[in-house]
């Protein structure tokens, strides 16, 4: 059982976001990757895309299923982890290190609605 970093915030849709100032780094949780199984494809947005909290920013596909990725916070996409295109299995190996996008937050107030690590762990236990 992987631990959920206390410095991250989480969504009920099983994304995590690491906030630092106006930047938020986004990925999916260990629970999510376990449910998906072997990840074979990650489709991510273009840099510059403007996302609303809860909006789909891409898809993640495992051998058995396709799932949407949802933005934990509103913001503009600053960086995209293109390495995941070639090595999608990294999401399974290191879910909390395999970031997908970095966004510049446009509504700082939204982060209050996110779960902390303890709340998220309660949700998935």
């Amino acid at each position: 059982m992987a631990s959920y970093p206390a410095s991250y915030k989480y969504t009920k849709d099983h994304e995590w976001v690491e906030l630092s100032g106006e930047r938020g780094k986004v990925g999916i949780t260990d629970y999510a990757q376990q449910q998906l199984g072997d990840v074979v494809y990650v489709e991510l947005p273009e840099i510059g895309t403007n996302l609303k909290q809860g909006q789909s920013f891409g898809t993640i596909e495992s051998v058995k299923a396709v799932s949407e990725l949802y933005a934990p916070v509103s913001g503009e996409v600053l960086e995209v982890n293109t390495a995941l295109k070639e090595k999608p299995e990294e999401v399974n190996a290191d879910p909390h290190g395999s970031w997908m996008i970095v966004v510049r937050l446009t509504s700082a107030g939204e982060t209050g609605a996110l779960l902390d690590a303890a709340q998220y762990q309660d949700l998935v236990k």
């Binding site: 199984g37 074979v40 494809y41 396709v66």
Partner: protein
């Protein structure tokens, strides 16, 4: 665990990719006890089987099996099945779990004109384990007196496995060498444990429905409900080889002979994706940049062994030549695919 045809079945044990690779490189053990067994016996049993099964069962010796179709009068698939000739006048049909009641009702009714033959749903009398992979023979041999080297592909023998009465069949649904083992349900767990124990030194792993699906797809084996069903004929599914063209009348023969004479309008193809993405069941296919769909994907996955996105589907027959390119709509995105030969994977003999 997922519900499947009334059974709770594991999709994966250690992971679909790990299990898939184990079967391709070592061996995997599947519990496929959900499969149905229907026996047909009586002095006219052969005539009964010949009537309801598309393949030519007269070619089977006792101890031999064949793949076949249970067809409608339109030549489409009620189900696909394996036909085992247990004795000259005694056959065992292995059918898909979700279709057992439908298949049995159809068979019981349709064999009546054949004369002295009765059908029995014997599904509850059999558990079925499948040991598949290049190491399968070496793992199973120490547990049985049946000389496995002498057991040819699509033949079977009666004997014991781990001191349990068993029928061992050299068949499978993975494209790999291997065995399907029929045992009494009460002893299935013992046989399962004994095989895993015997396979410990070569790391034989339990394998679930997920790997079964990716393995059969690499081997281009049709899955009923995906690639074949009551809307697709044996010719459209490119399964002419399981049609007994030379035998007397059987259900679906008229429709198939007519379709053979006139040609099919659509046909199954194997394809691989040229752009990134996985084309899954139900996704629509487009040819020549047209806005209306021309075909449909019936199975698709990212294959663990070949490491490609592959699939099967139906296209208009004029677009089914090898290397023909077409598009699949993957959640709103036109994604390029190319027709390739099947099977996608063929084991080294």
């Amino acid at each position: 665990m997922v519900p499947f045809g009334g059974w709770d079945m594991p999709v994966e044990y250690s992971g679909i990719v790990a299990e898939h690779m184990a079967v391709r490189t070592r061996a995997g053990l599947f519990d496929v006890s959900h499969m149905g067994q229907i026996e047909i016996a009586g002095s006219d049993a052969l005539a009964a089987v010949q009537r309801i099964s598309s393949n030519d069962a007269s070619k089977l010796s006792a101890g031999q099996a064949q793949y076949s179709g249970l067809l409608t009068r339109a030549g489409t698939f009620i189900d696909d099945l394996l036909v085992y000739r247990l004795a000259p006048t005694h056959f065992l049909l292995v059918v898909n779990a979700s279709h057992i009641p439908k298949d049995y009702a159809w068979i019981a009714e349709e064999i009546k004109p054949a004369g002295d033959a009765v059908a029995v749903d014997a599904s509850s009398r059999y558990a079925l384990l499948a040991l598949q992979g290049p190491a399968a023979r070496d793992v199973l041999q120490p547990l049985t007196g049946v000389e496995l080297t002498d057991l040819k592909y699509y033949w079977f023998a009666h004997g014991e496995v781990a001191s349990v009465r068993a029928t061992i069949s050299r068949t499978g649904y993975t494209g790999e060498d291997g065995f399907e083992i029929f045992v009494p349900p009460a002893s299935a767990d013992r046989v399962w444990q004994a095989i895993l124990e015997s396979g410990r030194s070569v790391d034989v792993v339990p394998a679930g429905l997920g790997a079964r699906d990716t393995l059969r797809l690499e081997a281009a084996m049709r899955l009923h409900g995906n690639d074949i069903d009551e809307t697709t004929t044996a010719l459209e599914a490119d399964l002419s080889w399981i049609v007994g063209w030379k035998k007397d009348d059987f259900i679906g023969a008229g429709a198939l002979r007519e379709q053979k004479a006139h040609g099919v309008r659509r046909k199954i193809v194997g394809f691989e994706m040229l752009d990134r993405g996985i084309a899954r069941q139900g996704y629509e296919a487009y040819v020549d940049g047209a806005s209306a769909p021309a075909g449909i994907v019936t199975s698709g996955t990212q294959t663990p062994y070949l490491k490609k996105a592959i699939g099967m589907g139906y296209l208009p027959v004029e677009h089914t030549a090898i290397d023909t390119e077409f598009d699949v709509d993957i959640r709103g995105r036109r994604t390029r695919a190319r027709v390739v030969p099947m099977p996608f994977y063929k084991r080294q003999k």
